[in-house]
Assembly symmetry: C2
Homo-oligomer: 384 residues x 2
DNA sequence: GCGGGCGGTGTAATCGATTGCATCGAGGTC
DNA sequence: GACCTCGATGCAATCGATTACACCGCCCGC
């Protein structure tokens, strides 16, 4: 510590001397010198405390406190080839649907010492490409995708093989390198539709999602399947493609209102769209559920808040998030190189609230034979 | 390129040979060898194309394409001491209030070549500490904070000085190292309250936020200020502290309903709380705005969706986000070391919808003299 | 004909941590 | 007492890029 102290301090001066910027952060070398040990010992004192003598470790800890040292993540990541961070890639944070899934992911990951950061692509391929570079550059150890659609050039798919990827509520057709966690959209949509049919409805409409979205397609298939089972021909004029957003529900409602022969019940492929639909038709004087019944999908927070509270298929969002995170943890582990991707499909639950009732008597419909429920009164309840 | 090719390939084998994991990513050295140049030239071909001969650059580009090379971010960050990434730290992504702000931030940053990632602290000091380490470890070049409250040990404040920090819709008292972008909460709250007074109300309640939140405190002050100006004594039994969330509005409504002498108008410190309040009192048979008028704060998306559409103070969220991002860009620039933090306070706009009406005639109130509006009919409109 | 400038490129130091291997002393064993 | 073991520590290579500096032709001007 004798003669090299001068060049060392000059170096520190050189770092801090230029301009009046903030003082340079302490490095592991600063800590080592102050504790009178080598950098290797400092590193070990932090990473493997039992390999360092009690007394030495105390000195290191003290030196760290005195210098305010924080390990430089870039250096560590470079050497260790891992970041202990997972990126969750969303198509839009304004969609509250994702929040409970993300919470579950974060809880699961942080319990294992991993961190989670969120990226928002806002449905933009360009922004997605930006995050793809981020992933390929080794900035994260794993990815959870909510955005996958059809494989495209330069999309996140190109990162497969480098880091493990899990898809949640989504699927990329023809891609076997991801784990997939979703619900059985077709079966759930069929159940929702059947619920309307059971209430006596024979003329049904569908607020469909984007045809490029695999989930939207599956829900549409489930809708048609339920109709077919009940022997009801679909009314193509009452099937409106668009998307899962509020505005898409508004657009569908506009087309609904323009219809000469309106359906008496609607299955909406997403709650946001269902709410946009309800809001719009009510402004036009249509009563829910007296004039039109409606079932949504997702059970977002506002489903129970709007008026009337929305009957909907609930997705087990927390479970989806937890499973995806656990899968990623397994496949990110340094000893687990050959853990194959898995696929899990969870069940949805129908949450009955107040938007489904019997067919309005005013309409010219044959009185439904198998109607058991008593209408909005009985449909009341569900969850809070 | 003669005799060292053997050790090089052995090295590559060593990297790829262990286990059956994914092939190691190509490094700049792989590209350099394939293009027959040095790593310096490859680096320059990417970072400073005009410093490299046209023909050489073409060879490098081809080599990059052939190898599938992506620069390792950790190495670059380590050397360049910057990441070109900004972290936005939220108390909870389930709160849709933040979405438009974040979008504006992302747009502004990405136009300047920066990326944005989101961290969610969920009001947990422990999770915040996790992100603090992330920041101190040099993983980001700047931070936008939505979470700051009272300075605490180990919170993000300890990162000040290392990286520039901007606060949005928040403030940390006694902290001068941040830029702050918010609205004049006190003035806006006073205007909202005055709007109710102008409609004839003389008995006002307040759904207040968390007393530890500076914004909530300011809004409460504005509420009281407006009352004082109008010569109305505050009814302390009708001021309910809680928070900005839906549940807090529900809790306030419960206490409102228990009141013997209920106020005829409510100023809620946040839309989410206002909506919880409305939903709850309506279930108890109270009509809005006939029995109770209410003004919210924020103008979140659902403010116009709920029934009846909520009259509220709109915060200029996109502007706040844009300004914060621009400020950060200035202070992150390598040549801008001494750019001081700034403070901007923006104006809110009152958005009149349908939750404010005149005082119910049934109540024993002196007929308001200066009431001009005709009630819910005239209050209709506002924005979509 | 020679020096200077300049465009293009390579060499090697550097960023800050981790970690395999060497070293060293203390204590135990035969 | 020589040798071995083992815990504690240091030395130095390493991760993959960036970049200051040196170098080499080539062209130009005087």
């Amino acid at each position: 510590m004798g003669d090299e102290s001068t060049p060392a301090s000059m170096k520190a001066l050189a770092r801090n001397g230029r301009r009046s910027g903030p003082p340079a952060a302490a490095t592991i070398l600063d800590v080592a010198r102050r504790a009178g040990v080598s950098t290797a010992t400092v590193s070990r004192a932090l990473a493997a405390p039992d390999k360092v003598a009690e007394e030495t470790r105390a000195r290191v800890i003290a030196a760290i406190a005195a210098t305010g040292y924080t390990p430089n993540a870039s250096a560590r990541n470079l050497r260790a080839r891992s970041t202990q961070i997972v990126l969750a890639l969303l198509p839009g944070i304004s969609n509250t649907f994702f929040a409970p899934i993300l919470n579950a992911i974060e809880d699961t990951l942080s319990a294992a010492g991993y961190g989670m950061i969120i990226g928002d692509t806002r449905h933009s391929l360009q922004k997605e490409a930006h995050y793809t570079r981020f992933i390929l550059a080794g900035q994260v150890d794993g990815v959870i995708l909510f955005t996958g659609q059809i494989p495209r050039d330069g999309d996140v798919a190109s990162a497969s093989g480098r880091v493990p990827i899990a898809l949640v509520c989504n699927e990329i057709v023809g891609e076997r390198r991801y784990s997939v966690f979703d619900v059985d959209n077709r079966a759930a949509a069929a159940r929702a539709t059947t619920h309307l049919i059971a209430a006596g409805h024979r003329h049904l409409g569908h607020v469909a999602g984007d045809a490029r979205n695999i989930e939207a397609v599956e829900r549409m298939k489930g809708f048609r399947l339920a109709l077919k089972r009940a022997g009801i021909p679909p009314d193509e004029a009452a099937i409106w493609e668009g998307g899962f957003r509020y505005e898409d529900g508004v657009a569908a409602a506009t087309r609904f209102l323009a219809l000469r022969e309106r359906p008496t019940a609607i299955f909406a492929s997403a709650d946001h769209a269902a709410i946009g639909f309800i809001r719009t038709v009510r402004d036009a004087g249509i009563r829910i559920p007296e004039d039109v019944s409606i079932v949504g999908f997702d059970d977002i927070d506002y489903a129970s808040v709007i008026d009337p509270p929305l009957t909907t298929m609930r997705q087990p969002r927390a479970s989806l998030g937890r499973l995806a995170a656990e899968d990623l943890l397994q496949r990110m582990g340094r000893d687990a190189v050959d853990v194959p991707p898995i696929r899990e499909r969870l069940r949805c639950d129908l949450i009955e609230r107040e938007t489904v009732g019997p067919v309005a008597t005013a309409r010219s419909v044959r009185r439904p034979a198998k109607l058991q429920r008593e209408g909005s009164g009985a449909a009341r309840g569900g969850v809070t």
